[in-house]
């Protein structure tokens, strides 16, 4: 999972030979923007022009990229393996959805409310869940999501239960841009929100706080030994990630005008992991590659045989783990070396 080269202690920049100095420079300059990083955004705008009839799918892909990106923060950077990320996604979606179904359809505040609720759930559940490790942690994240799923199922007078939430009415953005049936507004809305969240995530990852998370992932004991507040830092990133996941859920709820129980189930959490793994974990860009591949393939295959789609996706997971660790970006790295 370690993707970034670490500098050995004792090798100072001045005394190091040229190769080591290059490594130090690369290390120190990792936060700077590179030209290649513009590629996803250029591609997203190009996709708008080239595939105008697929914009509703495109908007969903953008929102799911945000969901996978939020999972990457806890999984790839903090090393917290979770099976319950759908809890936050679903919380955000239901919050925005219930607001819109009950007379408050303003999208921006709905989005913020979704993010805030998800962050709250992340904070409270994180206080309990993050005390444990390994299988127990995995199980507790799953239990939190299952608990919310059960709650949404039982509270059918508010959430619509099994049938899903009906009757959402989302107002135009800033009172200007109506959500049209071709998905143009939805596409740009998702793209702008994704960009802002990506910027935030990138700042977090490259901050000293983000670096210490990588340290916690790589060697918890050493981080404890040098006095880093490990528990608090894990809780903070868990909450940030929950807020981003909630934003993604709210985006999908507002653009598709529907929220169902599938927003909270294990398949949702699992598919986020899969999409991330296909692209590459702990790289911030894995989501941008894995999600479109997965969702376009799903859109194509599941029309033919929805059940057997699971066979191929399962096989792909096994093959990625056995032969292609690090996903597509990992393969690219290996080819370049």
């Amino acid at each position: 999972m370690a993707t970034e080269g670490l500098v050995r202690p004792g090798v100072t920049a001045a005394a190091a030979p040229a190769a080591a100095r290059a490594a130090v420079d690369a290390f120190a300059g990792r936060h700077r923007y590179r030209l290649l990083e513009a590629l996803p955004w250029v591609a997203a705008i190009a996709a708008y022009a080239v595939f105008p009839s697929y914009l509703p799918l495109g908007a969903q892909i953008l929102a799911m990229i945000l969901f996978a990106l939020s999972a990457d923060l806890v999984l790839g950077y903090a090393g917290i393996v979770t099976l319950g990320h759908a809890a936050f996604f679903g919380t955000g979606a239901y919050t925005a959805g219930i607001l819109a179904a009950n007379g408050w359809g303003e999208p921006i505040t709905g989005l913020l409310a979704g993010a805030a609720m998800a962050a709250l759930v992340g904070l409270v559940s994180g206080l309990v869940v993050l005390r444990t490790t390994g299988l127990t942690l995995l199980m507790q994240t799953l239990v939190v999501a299952t608990l919310l799923h059960e709650a949404a199922n039982k509270a059918s007078s508010i959430t619509g239960g099994d049938d899903g939430l009906q009757g959402m009415e989302v107002w135009p953005i800033f009172g200007q841009f109506r959500f049209d049936m071709f998905g143009r507004t939805a596409y740009f809305y998702c793209l702008i929100v994704l960009f802002l969240c990506w910027y935030l995530a990138r700042r977090v990852v490259h901050s000293p706080f983000g670096r210490s998370l990588t340290g916690i992932r790589e060697n918890v004991r050493r981080m404890h030994a040098i006095g880093a507040p490990v528990v608090r830092r894990r809780l903070v990133i868990y909450t940030i990630s929950a807020a981003l996941a909630g934003t993604a859920g709210a985006l999908i709820a507002q653009t598709t005008q529907f929220v169902g129980l599938s927003f909270l189930n294990l398949e949702r959490s699992g598919s986020a992991l899969i999409m991330l793994i296909i692209g590459g974990v702990g790289r911030l860009y894995g989501a941008f590659i894995g999600v479109p591949l997965y969702m376009i393939a799903q859109d194509r295959f599941s029309e033919i045989q929805p059940v057997y789609w699971y066979f191929w996706i399962g096989l792909m997971m096994v093959l990625v783990v056995v032969f292609a660790r690090g996903g597509i970006l990992g393969l690219v790295d290996r080819l370049r070396r």
Binding site: G134, L147, E150, N153, G314, M317, V320
Partner: protein
Amino acid sequence: MSDALAAVVSIGFHGLAFAMVLYLISVGLSVTMGMMGFVNLAHGVFAMLGGYVMTSLMTRFGVPFVPALAAAAVATALGSLVVERLLYRRLYGGDELDQVLLTMGLIFMSFAAVTYVWGPNPQPMHPPRWLSGQTDFGFRSFPTYRSFLILCGAAMVTALWLGLERTHFGMRIRAAVDNLRMAQSVGINTSRLFTWTFALGSGLAALGGGLGADLLAITPSYALDNLVYFLIVVAVGGLGSIRGPFVAAVLIGVTDTGFKYLLPELGAFFIYALTMAILLWRPRGLFGRA
């Protein structure tokens, strides 16, 4: 008063039957987790396969109940040997995320493969005639099949306990769970030991899946739907023991049955809350070692 007593007895009885099924399925997972630290989410797949093999032997080929159950357990154990040798082995001591992904992939593949072979509907489970109906226990009568489940479970718990505490094989398992490196140093072939333990655990899961086919319906999404139950039993009980999962299974089985009976509108809510509370109090489970 007698109504309340009858309800308590009924909850205890059905809860215990459910607990036995949970225990048989989860005990193998607990021991293999404790030994190799391998996060095997696909353990429920073996229970599901046991259920499928048993029910189809019975309904399609007219095999009697007991031989069908035995055949299902043996076939699943052999199948799990192949999977362990081919796939799991590569990831021992590796990254937890890789293990989660591999086993989730296996769950998805089994879901599609089972739908292809058996279709999406639950498999019918007809207990043989000598196990159907009610049995009178003097003070009241209970469903015969559930009583049989409890007896079977009790017998398996005893057999497992004796096997682990009193046999050479059990001694080596305990050594490997306690200290893997030391067990290797004193000349135990832990790799082969683990393979056998894994197969045994999968066979037990298949037994639990077959026996409990009327409690946990055999459907393609079995492994995914019941995953949270198996993980709760293992985590609450504590890894690497056979006593822990038993206590956890009884606790979870009885409280789940009780609350679904007394407060159906809350459903499974309570056991999730209970699980979180127990792990808040003892993060390593009831019998987990520090």
